[in-house]
């Protein structure tokens, strides 16, 4: 199985640890992952802000880079939803020339969010992780209503040794990030985040986890501004965590 990592421009530039965690995790599960270097951005920011032509060009680039892989793993709900939901819609609307539209049809079904790849393709929920902390999980809108990840992230987290998963009130409500929305409507965005942060703090959790670093950048930026003492972590980083010595033992027993 040829597996590629689509790191996403935000993770590539600002959150490389998430990418490293995906690589570590997949290797531990026996999956060799490629990083096609020509990848840049899925085009979500451009398309969703109203710069359609640029978004379409970047979509074209994405399918050219990733066509032919058996699986393209994306550690970001909103970028994954951009590819899976919006690319076919753009294709239906005649945005691409014929050959590109074909590439879209070929590529999109092989694009998986990390948790889908783990649960549906590899068939694992216990990834051998160890993370002795109290964690709450924010499902993020595009993971929830776009990709429909459902309970996959929760099932993965429940199998992590030492991890105490606590429910988050109002979990399904948007945190107020919304890409350029956070800058174009800063007051509403901040008001939404205020409520999200209150719910997070009410859980008493030490770590807020999500499958999208963009939302976490927004909530996390608010948490640190408030000196709240709760940190944010991408799901991949929790799943990649092991007890000291764990990784080597697994390597030897293989």
């Amino acid at each position: 199985m040829r597996v590629a990592l689509f790191i996403t421009c935000v993770n590539d530039t600002l959150f490389p640890d998430t990418g490293k965690a995906v690589v570590t995790l997949l290797r531990r599960l026996g999956v060799d992952v490629d990083f096609p270097e020509a990848q840049t951005c899925c085009g979500q920011m451009h398309l969703n802000t109203g710069y359609r032509a640029e978004g379409v060009r970047l979509a074209d680039r994405f399918v050219t880079v990733f066509r032919g892989y058996d699986a393209v793993v994306v550690p970001s709900g909103s970028c994954g939803a951009m590819v899976r939901e919006q690319y076919p819609r753009l294709a239906d609307g005649g945005a691409f020339p014929g050959a590109v539209a074909e590439a879209v049809a070929d590529t999109v079904p092989h694009v998986y969010d990390l948790s889908e790849f783990l649960v549906d393709v590899l068939g694992v929920t216990d990834v051998g992780a160890y993370f002795p902390h109290r964690v709450t999980y924010h499902p993020t809108c595009h993971s929830l209503r776009g990709l429909r990840l459902g309970d996959r992230p929760r099932r993965l987290l429940e199998q992590v040794r030492g991890l105490e998963l606590v429910p988050l009130a109002g979990a399904e409500e948007c945190c107020g990030f919304g890409g350029t929305f956070a800058v174009k409507n800063p007051d509403i965005s901040a008001a939404m985040c205020g409520d999200k942060v209150r719910n997070v703090l009410d859980t008493g959790a030490e770590v807020l986890c999500a499958a999208d670093n963009s939302c976490l950048m927004h909530i996390g930026g608010t948490l640190t501004r408030q000196k709240a003492g709760v940190r944010v972590m991408h799901l991949a980083e929790i799943l990649a965590s092991t007890e000291p010595g764990d990784a080597r033992e697994r390597e030897e027993s293989r």
Partner: protein, 480 residues
């Protein structure tokens, strides 16, 4: 294919807004209004919960939703046929049908009809279409007073206020504010509020009942909208909770209904679907208390139907945007929207607020003003509206489409072009990342210009020394 045809824009009442204040500016004021925030949080939360529970108890809800969508799509595709069929049926049943291209024409028709009766007072059933065209103001200019009889519309009218919600126009008011409005202003419009009025809901309802009852008995002309029109039979349908609508529909000698042309369904049977979808989505009830249906004129009553276009055929010509015409004005999208809950309805500067307003207003009114250009951006694209919409209007997709047609600020265009240039070649991205890594300590805590909207309330993430792609190349994917 073309998605850019916007057709002839209609006039949608601005409700006191100049169109210069944008949604973000209006919303910035709203989020600081603690009373408004409290009222909206409470009200939307309550309706949201009720809707979820009554929708959840129907196992065939997804099928009903698809049926609602399909019936509306079919009707819209064949609107020309069904409108003519409706006109024939209404005429046959003794009603008079008038066609209005825009708000001005509709207002003129209604004003002339009222004048012809010799009356100077009319009672009104709650209606979005007549608000859209600013009918009350047009009547007022001709010396005719329109009295709102829906309880929430009455509150809005007495308070010299604007509606802020499609279903619950006074959702921004709580009961003590309503009591104050009654005590201060009821006497200016008719029977004063009872002495020592409390803010108990039952007492407030009784005050409104006494005030309105006199009005119903004295007024000879009524104006309504309609939730549905049945082409086959010529029947109009109004769903309501209070019975005040039925008073208006039955007591006066002349009834004038102003209805958008998209409110049609082909057959009587089709109502089966919508009479399930609407109340559950709207008030969160299994069935609304009053459903009034009438066909043409009843004996001793004159009935006029004014069919309103006002930009709708323009929307209909638009491949993607036309789905907004499926809307049955239930308000489920408003109640679930995290933006609406914090901004309230007035921030949208239109009689149609919330997610549906953000796609309907710019389509009906065009995107000529700063306000209307800002409306498609009044959403985080969280998708909750699409999920609850009983006729499956994909609001996020239409928002994105409208954003694509908007004129963008110069600085933003430059930023987007620069980002596009960087993303065009991986080498450019890598160089930009390295530059960012080297300058990471120089990034200010507060960003300048529009980006300051981020750092006003949030810290920036720390820029890493090394990007993922540089790490991958340096370590051969972590192998070294």
């Amino acid at each position: 294919m073309s998605r850019t045809f916007l057709g002839m824009p209609g006039t949608v009442s601005m409700m006191g807004y100049s169109g210069k204040e944008t949604f973000p500016e209006n919303a910035a004021k709203a989020v600081r209004n603690s009373q408004l925030r409290f009222n909206l949080r409470k009200a939307t939360g309550t309706i949201r919960g009720r809707r979820a529970s009554v929708v959840g108890e129907l196992p065939d809800w997804p099928d009903l939703r698809q049926a609602g969508k399909a019936i509306k799509d079919h009707t819209l595709r064949n609107l020309d046929t069904y409108l003519v069929r409706l006109e024939e049926a209404v005429t046959k049943a003794g009603g008079h049908v008038h066609w209005a291209r825009d708000a001005a024409e509709a207002n003129r028709i209604v004003t002339d009809l009222v004048k012809a009766t010799g009356e100077t007072q009319v009672v009104k059933v709650k209606s979005m279409a007549t608000q859209e065209i600013g009918l009350n103001e047009a009547l007022h200019a001709e010396g005719i007073t329109a009295y709102e009889t829906d309880l929430a519309e009455l509150i809005v009218q007495l308070g010299d206020d604007w509606p802020s919600h499609i279903l619950v126009p006074a959702i921004h008011r709580n009961r003590s504010e309503i009591r104050e409005i009654f005590v201060r202003h009821m006497s200016e419009w008719g029977r004063p509020a009872p002495e020592r009025l409390t803010d108990e809901p039952a007492a407030l309802a009784e005050a409104a009942r006494l005030h309105l009852r006199e009005r119903f008995l004295a007024t000879k002309v009524a104006i309504s909208g309609a939730n549905f029109m049945v082409a086959e039979t010529g029947t109009l349908v109004v769903l309501e909770s209070e019975g005040n609508g039925r008073m208006c529909l039955t007591l006066p000698e002349t009834l004038i209904s102003v209805v958008g042309i998209e409110k049609l369904v082909p057959t009587w049977r089709d109502l089966e679907v919508f009479l399930q979808l609407l109340p559950r989505s709207s008030t969160g009830e299994r069935m609304n208390p009053y459903t009034s249906m009438w066909t043409g004129a009843t004996e001793g009553q004159e009935f006029h139907l004014v069919l309103l276009d006002n930009g709708r055929t323009g929307v209909l010509a638009d491949d993607l945007g036309r789905q907004a015409l499926r809307c049955i004005r239930c308000s489920a999208c408003l109640n679930v929207c995290p933006v609406y809950e914090r901004s309230g309805g007035h921030a949208y500067g239109s009689v149609y607020p919330g997610p549906i307003g953000a796609i309907l207003t710019p389509q009906l009114r065009g995107m000529g003003s700063e306000l209307d250009r800002s409306l498609p951006y009044a959403s985080s694209l969280c998708g909750a509206c699409y999920e609850v919409c009983p006729v499956a209007i994909d609001i996020p997709s239409v928002l994105i489409e409208l954003r694509g047609r908007s004129r963008h600020p110069v600085a933003e265009r430059a930023g987007m072009a620069a980002a596009g240039w960087v993303f065009k070649r991986q080498g450019r991205l890598a160089r930009a990342q390295r530059m960012g890594g080297r300058m990471r300590r120089l990034v200010p805590k507060r960003l300048p210009g529009p980006l300051g909207g981020w750092t006003d309330t949030r810290d920036l993430p720390a820029i890493p020394k090394e990007s993922f792609r540089d790490w991958w190349n340096r370590t051969d994917g972590g192998a070294r």
